[in-house]
Amino acid sequence: MYAANDQGKFERLGAYQFRVTALTGSGTRVLAATGSGLWEVREDRWVQLHDETLTEVMDVIDTGPTMIAASAYGVAFGTVDPSGVPHWDWLSDDLNVNQRFTNAIVRLDDTRLLAGTEGGVLIHHATTGWSTTSLTSPVRCLLRSGDGYLAGANDGLWASADGQHWRPTGVTATVYALTANEDVVVAGSEEGVLVSAAGSPWCAAGLPGLRVTALALSATDAGLWYAGGVPGGLWRTTDHGQSWVAVPEVHIEVESIFAPGGRQ
């Protein structure tokens, strides 16, 4: 993990070498989903939030006392009791193999979760359990956008008003990352960065030829965006993607970027 200092220069943050797949901040803490479990990132050290059942965490939602983890083995709800013991309850054990592997999760409402899996988008209801939706291709990312939802999948970008019924957006490249700032939606794809403003058609916004797997938009500067790629590199634009400059300190694979105050 790297963090920008006051001068905007990125520095390695600690000795931790876990592969970081997602970062989330609740205002009181930052959680790091990693290939080796779930951690709370503190100033002095990372604190382990997983147990022996949770690894290969792909995404996380932090709702305060409860954490929701998406992993290669399914979705789990976690809490930490007052003595510091994490407890994880698994929801996906009865799904098939592809449906268990969950790459992204978004809350639909207080009782329903949207899960982007290798078997498509699924909905989990607190009382009725899992149901499938019309999107069945492998899903890499999800985003609540305006009144609806977006799903980045192996076969392109999909949109839905209710999470159940999905329609193609016209973007056919694999989409790995989605984020938004007010009415601007940005996608990281197999073919670089894509953008749609105020519902306009999607158009290229730089980094063609780079597999863009992570995005973050500044909460205070509308033109300042970061993009992370595979096989490597962190890129910054200050002009809404018209030009991008590589951050020289970061040349590893970037799978998640956290912009305090912004959306991930």
Partner: protein, 591 residues
């Protein structure tokens, strides 16, 4: 000489061989064993430990993330030799264990070493209330205990996950020995001791003259034409003896077994070395972890291994759920006999390549992982490979005979099978049939499909003949026999009926009808349907009814946790006291 005397003699010989050149915390056990009380011994171990364990990062944070091997090695050393260590060594190990960042890795042996080291450290460094991971020490100790006991529980009910690995089995045996000798809890010590015995029994049942016969979850990379492979070679020699002694039998990394208080039951060595009668061993092992690109879960692994006086033939029902599931260093079958590297193995492999193969069990992006994994291990993609599972390989075995079949799609990147044959075997070629005199046994191989001879030499890893089988519907029928049963290779060849192999339905007209039949030298009739049933004398083999262990010397039903070992009037029962109704702990690692 008693077994204990033999074991002590081998331990002393290996220690004497190893101690002068030791450079790791594992090897330091041998340094202490050679001369435990000499002042220079403690200083030498201090130098080894402080320079190889927990090296400080040059980052501003000055701590490094540890893997799982070194902490395990250091903690095992601390537990066994803390009285002989000097204070500087003790302090260094304690500091690294309680302050550095420790990764638990991504395979079963990694997690076992990680949790073992952490458990032992948490029991000793009790002044660290908060552990390196920010949790209370007791919380992490409880997690380690749950995982270790959960792993034992799984293994004795449904079989070992990272099963019978020549390259990694030692990394299962050593943690169990460490726990048996040094864990605080008496129940855990007993469970670990029994588990060590069971893991060593796994080796004993398929031990063959210094090597480990049959199928393996993970073979030493590129080494499966060697006759002794990986760290298991050291443990096989230590516990059972063997025909050769060299660097593979005196590996530093297995040195903790040289000085452990734990010692396996005498019976296991007797089983390993008993060649009076042929032995047929059937085992069930846990399903492979395949977590995407397929709908169905992998099924249990079922192994068959036949050892005679002069050869061993082993095959595996892999239980894979279809392409692209193909564990990368799995070896499904081979025929082996006593001999030098490259000269005593026959094995075949479809060198399956698919980017999805890696992402079926690793969570990195499927789009990227095909470049990521082979970057570090390019040999995993080699066309001349002899290891790695193929979803298109199927097989059946009856005693000393086996049918191995492949139906490889025409658009596969490697649409062929590599059949490895030693150069030093005398080969007689009659049409599609090869008869071989290995010097210790005879072997018949009926080739199925178009074949072409080639030569292969990959550094010191592979050196022999390849017969490459191409086309849709290839494979082989193989049978081995004692050399003493026939007057000559010609007499052995003459013993086969010209119609012994029935290919009239190979390939068949449609799915489910691709069949091969074979009548063995003893008159048993094998009938194998690709994607269908396997029959012996018209009776289907009921793999679903397979036991955990089924052999003259070992028996256990599934899900009981009771394994009975017996040999020449001696009996040993390993009862792990499992609750068969209790859900299994999930195994969420590669293995």
């Amino acid at each position: 000489m008693s077994y204990t005397d033999e074991l002590v003699a081998r331990r002393q010989a290996i220690v004497a061989d190893m101690a002068p050149t030791v450079s790791t915390a594992f090897g330091a056990h041998a340094v202490f064993a050679a001369d435990p009380d000499a002042p220079e011994t403690a200083r030498r171990v201090e130098e080894i430990v402080t320079t190889t364990f927990g090296a400080q990062s040059d980052s501003p944070f000055a701590v490094a993330q540890m893997g799982c091997f070194d902490p395990f090695g250091a903690m095992f050393l601390y537990c066994r030799w803390q009285e002989q260590m000097n204070q500087a060594t003790r302090d260094h190990i304690q500091h690294v264990m309680t302050h550095n960042v420790h990764g638990r890795g991504n395979t079963e042996n990694h997690w076992l070493m990680h949790y073992t080291a952490q458990l032992l450290a948490a029991e000793r460094f009790t002044d660290a209330d908060t552990w390196w991971n920010g949790q209370p020490r007791e919380v992490f100790h409880a997690e380690a205990t749950r995982w270790i006991l959960g792993t034992i529980d799984r293994t004795v009910r449904i079989g070992h996950h990272e099963y019978d690995s020549t390259d990694y089995h030692g990394w299962h045996v050593l943690p169990m020995i460490a726990l048996a000798d040094h864990a605080a809890d008496a129940t855990l010590r007993q469970r670990a001791a029994d588990m060590a015995s069971l893991l060593i029994a796994d080796m004993a049942l398929e031990y063959f003259k210094g090597g480990w016969a049959g199928g393996h979850a993970r073979e030493g990379y590129r080494e499966n034409t060697h006759t002794s492979v990986g760290c298991s070679a050291a443990l096989l020699y230590l516990y059972f003896g063997g025909p050769t002694f060299g660097p593979r039998q005196a590996q530093q990394q297995m040195a903790p077994a040289l000085t452990s208080f734990y010692q396996p039951p005498d019976m296991l060595a007797a089983i390993a070395n008993d060649r009076e009668q042929p032995r047929l061993v059937k085992k069930t092992k846990a399903p492979r972890n395949i977590f995407r690109h397929v709908v169905d879960d992998a099924q249990p692994v079922r192994k068959t291994t036949y050892t005679s006086a002069s050869f061993a033939l082993g095959t595996t029902q892999l239980g894979l759920p279809g392409a692209p599931a193909g564990p990368i260093d799995l070896v499904s079958w081979d025929l082996t006999w006593e001999g030098p590297d490259h000269e005593a193995k026959i094995v075949s492999c479809h060198p399956y390549v698919d980017t999805g193969r890696f992402s079926a069990f690793l969570s990195e992006l499927p789009q990227d992982i095909g470049r990521g994994v082979p970057a570090a291990k390019p040999f995993l993609q080699f066309a001349d490979r002899l290891y790695g599972a193929s979803p298109y390989e199927q097989m059946m075995q009856h005693e000393s005979a086996a049918i191995i079949l492949y139906r490889i799609p025409a658009d596969d990147q490697h649409p062929f099978v590599n059949l490895y044959l030693p150069r030093s075997t005398t080969w007689r070629h009659q049409g599609n049939v090869l008869f071989g005199d290995t010097g210790t046994c005879y072997v018949m191989i009926h080739l199925i499909g178009c074949s072409r001879w080639d030569s292969v030499r990959d550094a010191h890893f592979i050196d022999g003949w390849f017969v490459r089988l191409r086309g849709d519907g290839v494979g082989l029928v193989i049978e081995a026999a004692e050399r003493t049963d026939y007057d000559s290779l010609a007499a052995f060849a003459d013993a086969f009926d010209s119609g012994a192999v029935d290919l009239s339905n190979w390939p068949g007209k449609k799915a489910g009808q691709h069949q091969v039949g074979y009548t063995t030298l003893a008159g048993a009739h094998l009938h194998m349907t690709y994607d269908g049933t396997h029959q012996v004398n018209e009776t289907p083999i009921d793999y679903a009814a397979w036991k955990l262990y089924d052999a003259p010397e070992a028996s256990a039903e599934m899900n009981t946790g009771v394994i009975r070992l017996a040999h020449k009037g001696e009996a040993l029962e390993l009862d792990f006291g499992v609750d068969a109704q209790r859900p299994l702990m999930p195994m969420r690692v590669i293995g």
